[in-house]
């Protein structure tokens, strides 16, 4: 990246903090036989160090697609995506694997826990391949599951499973945390617990966090809210008055 370009980025960023993600003009087209599905139609977006961003939008608007591209699970059809000094657009499969391994924590809507592993082992699965992880026990304590270490996913409630997923995502101290509807399958009470865990990690570890949700109420706890509609960014709101998860009204 040239000096001029860098400056350009800073100007665009319109913020003194460093941009962790810089996405420019990304589009994603799925070809299904004859039909082309345009999931993203030119998205420009920056995410800054340590911020908590909520992505809002109707079903099918392209939120998951965007998050997957940021997380290196998928590649854009066109446009560029940078994560710090990594170019994700032209990275090959093994570079993306390295990127995910060292920088990103994922939380999925359906938890995606390994059913044959206990809570502790599910976390260990990730810490074993990370550079500077916390211990699985500490990670689970962080999400209030210190007493459920040796339970299998089938022995946990949905909310508990999602918190294991949070612990698994944060245990390697990732620089970014990407969450796809982490509370989608949960009730208010458990949803709040999961969000509290996320907020705590964001606060204490300074992890840049992006959360997809259908639930507009959750937007109140974000630094910024990105509205997505029909594969484009409709608008971005900045929250001046950030709420604590426990104050959210569902």
């Amino acid at each position: 990246m040239s000096e001029a370009e860098k400056e350009d980025v800073y100007v665009l960023a319109d913020d003194s903090r460093e941009a962790v993600f810089v996405a420019e003009g990304i589009t994603k087209v799925y070809k299904m036989g004859e039909v082309e599905v345009h999931a993203l139609r030119g998205v420009d977006l920056q995410l800054y160090e340590g911020e908590f961003v909520v992505l809002l939008g109707p079903s099918g608007s392209g939120k998951s697609t965007l998050l997957n591209i940021l997380g290196g699970l998928d590649v854009a059809t066109a446009g560029t995506v940078r994560y710090r000094d990594h170019d994700l657009t032209h990275a090959d499969e093994s570079a993306l694997t390295e990127y995910r391994r060292h920088h990103v924590g994922f939380i999925f809507q359906f938890y995606n826990l390994i059913p044959s592993l206990t809570a502790r082992e599910n976390v260990a699965l990730v810490t074993e391949i990370a550079d500077d992880p916390m211990s699985p026990d500490d990670a689970l304590k962080l999400v209030d599951l210190g007493d459920r270490l040796d339970h299998f996913p089938s022995q946990l409630s949905g909310g508990q499973q999602q918190r294991v997923a949070v612990a698994r995502a944060v245990a390697k101290r990732p620089e970014v945390l990407l969450c796809d509807e982490p509370t989608g399958a949960l009730d208010i009470h458990t949803g709040v617990k999961v969000l509290e865990a996320l907020a705590r990690v964001n606060r204490e570890l300074g992890t840049t966090t992006a959360v997809i949700t259908h639930n507009a109420a959750i937007a109140a706890m974000a630094d910024r809210v990105v509205h997505i509609a029909d594969g484009r960014i409709a608008k971005i709101d900045t929250n001046t008055n950030k709420k604590d998860p426990s104050e959210l009204e569902w």
């Binding site: 998928d74 995910r100 994922f106 999925f108 359906f110 390994i114 044959s116």
Partner: protein, 787 residues
């Protein structure tokens, strides 16, 4: 242990039923592979050590009578190392308690002790000394069978005179590992003795002083067998030489070599089929495992596990199963090998025959299994490794169902809702249904192959007993006799009908290839000695020309119409060209047949016979045997009942064990396939079926949907299995065929039926197991997991 390895072990435990089934299938293949190859290895090592330590000769020859000075000319043949001349003599023995005559082979040993070639292993006692009267060393099998010990006497009829021989040693010889008396095809320990006697005494008794009628030679390294044999034939020709032959054509060694060939087939071809099936099963199961773990693969990848690590993870699962299969299989193979070696010691006589399992055998087993497994699972593992994580996160698209053909042509009125589900399921995934049907039909086929040997072996015995050998007794003369001898025999007590035969030892040549064999002369209208092909139909004897076994024809590269050269090794030793009239697919030995008159014309000998086949009135009587034994012209008498009994005994003791192992393993495989099939479809449908239960369908109804599908698949698989079974049997038979025996292709209806019943039974048992699982289907559990 790392978390991913915990996952590995728990996944394995989770699929333990299926894993066990596959482990057993692999173990079956490996057991056969390891067992048979280890037996072969043990036999080979033992044989090689025995041959070299006891100086088994390279070239053998017989003649009528040659002066000892001829031996020096044989020694001068280039390439020859050691020459050992001997006097040998066939005699009749009188063994108390045996009413049928026993025959003995007397062989001389040098006056100064140890033979230079074909040395004897002394089990007990010593070799007969020089000068002492009528001492013999007796072969161990005969001693055991008739309970002869050191110091006992045997009565032999030598040159028409009764002589009493005293046993001073019990021995074994490398020439008689498989001890077959001339003309027999199964060893008869009770009625065939080999005895070694001091040369001077034997020569004196047989008027062979200063002469020999048997010679063996060892060759220098690199010497050409063919050239030595040709030179020997030239030198021995004036002395009634009967054609020299190499070690590979020596009877005992030839049988041993053919046994190796069979072991090789059973040890390689059959296990390969089994392992192929194991690979197929692994493929089905691993594809299923990868499909159910899509979301887990996605999570692993999202957290930075590389494609390679994910592939490795599933590869390790396969490797564990293969490893367990190999270990279990090696243990089974070991047990089986020891059992087989035990059986071999009854038929192949070595000083010691110990089972040994060289390390390369299980390693090779593992390599073969590993390759088969790798081939079978490469696709599934690669699919897991290549699964794009973003896509794996999304649930699989709902399957595309449509009306089935049957419904579209308007039959739906007749089909219940569950029946429609079964049919749609099958039509929607034809590949899947195809794979299930293939698996089930392989189960039927493998059972048929296993049991086919029983049909085939017993057919073979039956044919030998009732179709080929219709005689009750066969008699061989010491020398060809005129036809009057036949009438003489016909008038013996109890003889109803006698049919002559002529046997001429000859070497047949075509181009640069040649074989030494006996040409059989048979009357055109034979009643007792018919030639059959492998379809078990009588083959008409040509009036002119010669009829050859197809294996013989193939080994000489001749076709019908070709002219072969026949060098007769007896009488006036004519050399003639004879037209090959036909090749017959017969099933035992290598044979050449001619019409007896045409053979005698070739010999220019007039109407002579070598022996006769007899039909007796009722059972052959002691009186008949007595009067046959009393005739000096009679060299051998054998009763069919006894030889068939021997054949049956050998088959039952030896082959049936191998077959039992085959059937056992085939059964395991059949069950493994069927069980796996049911389990895979249960895992695929569990969610759907649980939803139906939630909607209010009864257990019986959902069982019907799943098991009805299995039953339908099984029914379709049966006829395909019959077809596959037939061809698989055919292929295995073709690879087992040797010069000793060609298996006729017979499959009884009952074998097909039994194969079908076993698979239906396995299907029913698997169905019950699956049904029990369905009954305990935890609705909440199944619905909670996304898939």
């Amino acid at each position: 242990m790392r978390a991913i390895h915990h996952k590995l072990l728990r996944d394995l435990w989770h699929m333990k039923g299926q894993a066990l089934a596959i482990v057993m299938v692999i173990a079956s293949g490996v057991a056969l592979f390891v067992g048979q190859l280890a037996v072969m290895h043990s036999l080979r090592v033992t044989r090689d050590a025995y041959y070299s330590e006891y100086r088994f000769a390279d070239v053998f020859a017989n003649c009528k009578r040659a002066p000892l000075s001829v031996a020096d000319r044989l020694r001068d043949v280039p390439g020859v190392d050691v020459v050992q001349t001997r006097v040998t003599l066939r005699v009749m023995l009188e063994v108390p308690g045996l009413n049928e005559p026993a025959t003995g082979q007397l062989i001389s040993i040098p006056d100064n002790g140890e033979p230079q070639l074909n040395d004897l292993f002394i089990r007990k006692g010593r070799l007969p000394g020089p000068g002492t009267d009528n001492e013999v060393a007796l072969v161990e099998m005969f001693a055991k069978a008739n309970k002869y010990g050191l110091g006992d006497s045997i009565t032999a009829i030598i040159n028409g005179r009764r002589q009493s021989l005293r046993v001073v040693g019990i021995v074994l010889s490398p020439e008689y590992v498989y001890a077959l008396s001339a003309g027999a095809f199964v060893p008869d320990d009770k009625r065939f003795a080999v005895m070694w006697m001091n040369e001077k005494q034997l020569a004196a008794a047989y008027n062979m002083e200063g002469a020999f009628n048997d010679v063996s030679a060892s060759l220098k390294p690199g010497a050409s067998h063919a050239e030595v044999i040709a030179r020997f034939d030239d030198i021995l020709k004036p002395y009634g030489g009967q054609g020299a032959f190499a070690q590979k054509d020596q009877v005992s060694n030839w049988y041993l070599a053919n046994e190796y060939k069979q072991l090789e087939t059973f040890g390689v071809v059959v296990p390969l089929i089994f392992l192929g099936i194991a690979a197929f099963l692994l493929n089905v199961v691993m594809s299923r495992v990868v499909a159910t773990q899509r979301d887990q693969v996605a999570a692993l990848k999202a957290f930075g596990y590389s494609n390679f690590q994910v592939g490795l993870h599933f590869g390790e699962l396969v490797a564990l199963i293969v490893l367990m299969g190999t270990i279990v299989g090696t243990l089974f193979g070991w047990l089986m090998g020891e059992k087989l070696i035990d059986l071999y010691t009854d038929f192949y006589h070595f000083p010691v025959l110990r089972f040994s399992l060289p390390g390369w055998v299980p390693l090779a087993g593992m390599a073969v299994t590993g390759s088969a497994a790798a081939l079978g699972t490469l696709n599934a593992v690669r699919r897991a490794a290549a699964l794009p994580p973003a896509e794996a996160m999304r649930p699989e698209a709902p399957p595309n169902y449509r009306m089935t053909l049957m419904e579209r042509i308007g039959l739906q009125r007749w089909l219940s809702q569950p029946t429609r589900m079964i049919l749609r399921q099958l039509e929607r995934k034809p590949m899947k249904a195809g794979a299930s049907i293939l698996g089930l039909s392989l189960a039927v086929a493998i059972l048929i192959v296993g049991m086919a040997f029983v049909d085939i072996i017993f057919t073979l015995i039956d044919i030998q007993a009732n179709v080929v050998h219709r005689e009750d007794v066969s008699v061989g003369f010491t020398e060809p006799r005129s036809r009057d001898a036949l009438h003489e025999i016909e008038s013996l007590p109890g003889v109803e009908y006698a049919e002559p035969y002529r046997a001429v030892s000859a070497r047949v040549r075509f181009g640069h290839r040649n074989r030494r064999l006996g040409i059989q002369g048979i009357p055109f209208d034979t009643r007792l000695n018919r030639v059959l092909n492998t379809d078990l139909e009588p083959f008409d004897l040509p009036r002119e020309g010669i009829l050859l076994s197809r294996v013989l024809g193939d080994s000489l590269h001749v076709s019908p119409g070709d002219e072969i050269i026949v060098e007769v090794m007896e009488g006036t030793r004519p050399t003639r060209t004879v037209k090959v009239a036909a090749l017959v697919d017969d099933f035992m030995g290598i044979s050449a047949y001619m019409e007896i008159g045409s053979l005698n014309r070739l010999m220019r000998e007039g109407d002579v016979i070598s022996g006769a086949y007899l039909l007796t009135r009722g059972e052959a009587s002691e009186a008949l045997f007595e009067s046959l034994r009393a005739r000096p012209a009679v060299a051998s008498v054998s009763s069919k009942a006894t030889s068939i009994e021997n054949l049956r005994k050998m088959v039952e003791e030896q082959l049936l064990y191998s077959i039992a192992f085959n059937v056992l393993f085939a059964g395991i495989i059949a069950f493994g396939i069927v069980y796996n099939n049911a389990r895979v479809s249960l895992s695929e449908r569990a969610r759907e079926l649980a939803s139906l239960r939630v909607l209010g369908l009864t257990r019986g109804e959902i069982s019907f949907i799943l098991l009805g599908e299995q039953a339908l698949l099984t029914l379709v698989a049966l006829p395909i299995g019959f077809f596959l079974g037939y061809w698989l049997t055919f292929a295995v038979m073709a690879s087992v065929n040797s010069e000793v025996v060609r298996m006729p292709m017979v499959l009884n209806t009952s074998t097909y039926a039994l194969g079908a019943i076993c698979v239906i039974f396995a299907a029913a048992v698997s169905g019950l197991i699956v049904r029990r699982r369905l009954d305990r289907l935890d609705l909440v559990e199944v619905l909670k997991t996304r898939e």
